[in-house]
Amino acid sequence: MSVLFEPGPEGFLRRYEGLNARLPGHRTPWVTALREQAAKAFREQGFPTRKIEAWHYTDLNLLARSGFAEALTPVDEDVALPEATAPQRVVFLDGRFRADLAETPDSGIPVRSLGANLSAAEGLLGGVAKLDEVPMAALNTMLFEDGALIDLPAETNGGAIELLSIIQSGERPVAVHPRHVIRLGKGASLVLIERAIGRGDGRYLHNPVVEIVLEEGAHLTHARIQQEGPAGLFLSTVFAKAAAGATYDSFLLHAGAKLSRSEAYVSLDGPKAMAHLNGAQLLSDGQHGDCTTFLDHAAPDCASRQTVKTVLAGKSRGVFQGKIHVHQIAQRTDGYQMNQALLLSDQAEIDSKPQLEIYADDVKCSHGATVGELDEDQLFYLRARGIPAATARSMLIEAFLQEAVDAVEEETARNALATAVAGWWEKVA
């Protein structure tokens, strides 16, 4: 039987106090200083409550009430892995880097364990994260043990990599805080498929944080696929900054977990940088999914595109919050934001808050939002052609999602997402 540490922020803080002499980097002053700073930020903020505007629609009470335990994965355990979505793959089991499970082709690039190579992450780790504003990132920084470190030199094409995280929740309600640090040098490119899978029906917390630095002209395709277990709590945060001419092309898929919230803080720091923050949420009975993004246009001539689709079945709740902040310097900004929700049940709920905050005058910004059910006319059209009702519904739902997935230009990532989305309705219905 596992030992749970006490629920709430105090439990995590106490755990940090008891563990900090053994956490990776405990002898490295800049790491311990960073952890201390994070602990201070987390102590001050605690878990966000619904009184905070950005958390109005997502209640972390379930997290605050749960006690968690330390992950104890035997190193030699034989793990069944799902089919890889990219030629190169690294695997994290309960948050720990498993070199023995990695698949590296000859053309592969080095992906290191962050925990074992902290000195190589100096200046990168904690460089983009906003600990004082994002308590979950502060919690991660305070307690992270491992993650992936990818530092791609200039003008390198890194191909496609899958970062697979598996959490095996049995009786132990584990809390895992992986930290990934990614830097793409000038003109480098990479396709990153970050996938989170939960095994077992138990409760657990998966709290990954990804820090991304894109130097001039770099190009990152970042597909995030969340397929956590039915009782899992998934709270993830991405911090990305893009220099001049760089592109951050991301897609978020929420398909599992009891409660999931993914936050992305993306800053376009150099002229002509570009961001795609697309996503889809497939939620069925009992699930809560929250996609929250903050996009900073901090340089002129940048562009951003965002399409987020949410499909809700059973008694589920979907949340979309997307803020675009255009700074005064960011003249000639081109921003577009669209979020659409499809309600398949009369118990489902969608809360949507697109937001524009604009301080520059020469801009073209727009957003749109729609909420509704499947179109009766379209269903009728299909059924009149002999297609059974269930199939017709499934076709229409997939078509609705297709538009978002099609926005992903890179093929490997798009295929991985298409596979994850396919057949969702048949499984639910």
Binding site: Q347, E349, I350, Q355, A360, K364, V371
Partner: protein, 499 residues
Amino acid sequence: MPAVTETIDAVASVTEGPYKYGFETDIEMEFAPKGLSEDIVRFISAKKNEPEWLLEWRLKAYAMWLKMEEPRWPAVKYPAIDYQDAYYYAAPKNKPGPKSLDEVDPELLKTYAKLGIPLKEQAILAGVEGAGDSPSEGGRLPVAVDAVFDSVSVATTFKHRLEKEGIIFCAISEAVQKHPELVKQYLGSVVPQADNFFAALNSAVFTDGSFVYIPKGVRCPMELSTYFRINAKSTGQFERTLIIADAGSHVSYLEGCTAPMRDENQLHAAVVELVAMDDATIKYSTVQNWYPGDENGKGGIYNFVTKRGACRGDRSKISWTQVETGSAITWKYPSCILQGADSVGEFYSVAITNNYQQADTGTKMFHIGPRTRSTIVSKGISAGHGQNTYRGQVKISPKATGARNFTQCDSLLIGDQCGAHTVPYIESRCMSAKVEHEATTSRIAEDQLFYCRQRGLSQEDAVGLIVNGFCREVLKELPMEFAVEAQKLLQISLEGSVG
């Protein structure tokens, strides 16, 4: 010189143009002592000779207000308000009704003349006996006016004519005396005392405002209008308006407001409650032109207002139209609670912020009844250092089957020092409801300006034309009587902002 630079220069030159309504009337006033306490609440109630239940109601609101905190979530910045440093009651000294215009305090008459109110109506407003019941001259469609000067209603016109139809249109303090049962039934039924900080404050100290009751099946034969003016120094204006449209009735109500130019900030915290029963329609139009402060952002009115309408009956309709050009800070969200089946809510808004003005305005549409529909059209224009926020909520409850909402909010930026923000909240818990929202932000296109100028229009006229076109969807919703004034006002405000 590129057209935009020229526009900005033109804007700068015009912003120095003085606020037309910035004069102050030197008139004998009666004040309550400065500050806010239970005694002041009692004083106001006693001055108004109010029944016990209303005093209790006010005291309850005051007790709640003491426990409440000023909201900090709107995207507006202002120094802390000292609620003890203002007069909560100020009224022109009462004398017996004058027999003719000659006997009226000439200062009061001058005020109305400066505000552009016709002489005939001035006579009525000044309370000349016998005036106000003769039909208006020149076949012009009459407008019944209730004028509120600082804290009290000074006059209501066309009262008798309206009475013939069974319509009650009077100051709310008068309604408390003459129709207590109606006031008691509806006061606070749409905006409860503890609804928010400023509504609680208003409930405790409201001094006057208009009361309208339209009986069953009556279509109000003329536009009803209230004219608000803050005149005295250091006063806050807390008016309360209550409009009840009984089954099958129809009313169109206009509201206008101005204030003198002062370096200090003055608070205006009004509450407006509308109730529409089965098949009733209320159209509420506002042209808000409180003093906006000077070009450096000094002075101006803090306009913190709670406006809400309840569509209680089936097929009822409430339509808000607002043109917001004044005030240093505007903070208001005229809302509709769509309870009745097939009821309709509408919100049309033009908000302009120039110089250092700030506006956080929008609407809330609560869809409760089945097949309820709402339309929101908001046009925000920011110039100078103005900050303009649209904040709107559309909430669909599980029972609102087949509900429908369409929202469009467009922002126009003029100059690179201003800001335009859009914050919609869409919350749907009903599968068969359809919600659509779209928003755009842009500046005046160079090619549009070029097109106009090429045809001989000056920079100023071209911008005026484009801005008028930008706002047209909203302006066309205004009643005739207001549309002309609103367009002029737009031009004046934009003289400062767009050339």
